[in-house]
């Protein structure tokens, strides 16, 4: 059925377009254009400061170079390790914190504010403070270990701990968004269900398994998708805490892409890496979509 466009409808439509215009313009300038430009550059031979104006089409040569390079696969592996730790901590931590904040206790508002604080604090500033707190020789945290006669872990300067520590801190910074969203979902669960569970004598774990998780599963899947995407955006956290070290032990792919582009001026290689990384993230989200569809249709 066609709707007749009245003067009023046209005015409403125009108002709507005006409202979304700033977003569309900015999105096109800062997201769509760089994406297309980056994709195009990945097929050119711009891989040194000398050849940056080069418009020679090299086909898939940059992709072949990237796929054959050890550094790409090593960094990708680090990115996956980071993403795994980050996603688990954000999802589980966000859920547990939300469950806690859903209870009534004295000072709940204050605790909720505190829980949200890391999310709005500057990452670089947090990095500086945390590097001091976790300094193995001068930091107050290892001072506690030393009080018990132990040197304590090396935290960011240990090749084994640097990446997990960075991922956990990245997760802690991001967790508040999940906490708030899950908290809102929890508050939408009808109380009747819990009352019935109480009458049936359900345990706490049974209440979570049979009431809470099914009722907030849509919100959880939505958060999982966002968290997985964000888990690959680790550049700022890694740079502020370890800068990829020690000995490349926390060198994630986003850091490698940045360095290839802006330190070594290998723009086409970096563009190819970025394109492949984007495709991997898209593939991941497609898998998540499938899992969600299966879950919702079971």
């Amino acid at each position: 059925m066609k709707t007749k466009l009245t003067k009023s409808n046209l005015r409403d439509a125009r108002t709507g377009y005006i409202f979304i215009l700033p977003f569309v313009v900015l999105f096109a300038v800062f997201k769509v254009y760089p994406l297309i430009y980056g994709f195009a550059v990945s097929f050119l031979g711009r891989n040194s400061i000398r050849t940056v104006s080069d418009t020679t089409f090299v086909g898939l040569e940059n992709y072949v170079k990237v796929l054959q390079s050890n550094s790409f696969w090593t960094s990708l592996e680090k990115s996956f390790q980071y993403a795994l730790i980050y996603t688990v901590v954000v999802m589980v931590g966000g859920f547990l914190t939300a469950m806690l904040l859903n209870r009534k206790f004295r000072g709940r508002t204050f605790v909720r504010t505190m829980a949200y604080l890391p999310y709005v604090t500057n990452v670089i500033a947090i990095g500086i403070v945390l590097k001091y707190l976790f300094n193995p020789t001068k930091g107050p945290i290892n001072a506690i270990f030393r009080a018990f006669g132990e040197a304590g872990p090396k935290w960011f300067s240990s090749p084994d701990l640097a990446l997990p520590m960075t991922a956990i801190i990245g997760a802690w910074l991001a967790m508040a968004f999940n906490t708030i969203t899950i908290l809102a979902a929890l508050q939408d669960i009808p109380n009747d269900l819990f009352e019935v569970a109480d009458i049936e004598g359900a345990s706490g774990l049974q209440r979570i398994r049979y009431i809470v998780l099914p009722m907030i599963s849509s919100a959880l899947f939505m958060l999982l998708t966002i968290t997985v995407i964000n888990s690959f955006k680790s550049y700022t956290t890694v740079v502020s805490l370890t800068n990829g070290g020690p000995a490349s032990s926390s060198r994630v792919l986003s850091l490698q892409i940045y360095e290839d582009a802006f330190t070594y001026m290998k723009f086409s290689i970096a563009a190819a890496e970025g394109t492949l990384f984007t495709l991997i993230i898209i593939a991941f989200n497609k898998i998540l979509d499938k899992v969600r569809a299966v879950w919702e249709n079971r």
């Binding site: 891989n47 400061i49 000398r50 020789t137 070290g245 020690p246 000995a247 032990s249 001026m265 290689i269």
Partner: protein, 438 residues
Amino acid sequence: MKKIVCTALLIVAAASMLFAQGSNESATASTEQRVVTTVCRASYANEEWYNRMNADFEAETGIHVDVQPTPGNDDDHDAKVNIDLLAGRTIDVIPSLGPKFYYERVEAGFFAPLSELAAAAGVDVNSVYGGYLPADESGEFYSVPVKQELWCVFFNRNLFDAAGVPYPEGPWTWDEYVETAKKLTDPSKGIYGSHMSIDPPWTIMLAKQEEIPLYKEDGTCNFDDPRWREAIEFYATLGNELKVQMSVEEFKNENASWNYYALAGDHIAMFPNGNWFTRLLNSQTDYPKDWSYGVAPMPSTGNENGANNLVSMGYVSVNKNAAHPEEALEYVLWLGENQWKYEGGIPALATLSEEDKNLAFSSVADASNGQVTVDEIYNAWINTGLGTTESDIIGTAAGEYDNIVEDELEAYFLGLQSIDVTIDNVVNRVNEAIKNVQ
């Protein structure tokens, strides 16, 4: 009514912006001041000598120097300058400290050729700069040298006095350096005889001094030459076995940065670095310390070809897209002859009068408040009996080569991989980097 008020406000705002712009233009036009633009590291912008130098240039020539500092570390600065050049920005004068990107910028054609311009300005560059002028075979050059940074060993006089060890003097070898460091190291007091940063060239110092090629004749990586391995093992021995300096693990734990010796030199006896480090050691404001420093020449490897000091040149160039090319040329030529007087560095001039020599070194000696004398500086920097060789990695994919060496060596020093794996990794990764830019 609301609509009318909003429209009126918008008109007023637009008109005020227009007139503000107009008044600015007319102000500029009325003074007609000549301007030259340049970039610098953020740390330079706050240094008294740098601002005084530009003020004196303005007083002498009437050209105002508009400085655009870049935040971040040296890598950030280089990246910003490279991006500016690539984007065709019209900033006039580009400094290149160290050769890492200098040669690439020249090859990329970012700089204006200066031979004809300098001749037209009446400057005989060959007699002024001699062998320091980075001219190609045709005699063309794209930069003017403003300074040379020569290496030396800084030492803590108080720790030498307390240990009853005579101050080091040249000529000496790395074996003698190690023996001296052993005498000064006292673990019970947390004192180390030596401190060397964990980056190149410290970690590959001996091979650099012997001028072992970084590339084979076919252009591939030459890091599998046994002398690189020996140099790396020498560095590792200092911290891990002899324990005359912090191990790399301790170094990382300490968050020891480029300025660590100036911050924590009270418990470190010796530290090889470029002469520029005197600026930090002379600054009681930024780096207050209660100990005195001295300077000694760099040790040599003891081998016939290892009697070389490391040197790094500083250049200034005129951007080929410069908005003010005449002013830029004037500024560049002026810096070549004058920057060292303000910075307290070593000039890159063909001939120096006795008065100039005295001025070059007395500015550092004066700023040290009696810690070092003109003679000591001259003997540690110039009168060493050593030749010179470039301190940095120069060549294809130089920046990446440098970072790969740093990464892989760090893994070796931390005990994560053997020296064989380290050498193999460096060679493979550097060859990959070379291939990528070809």
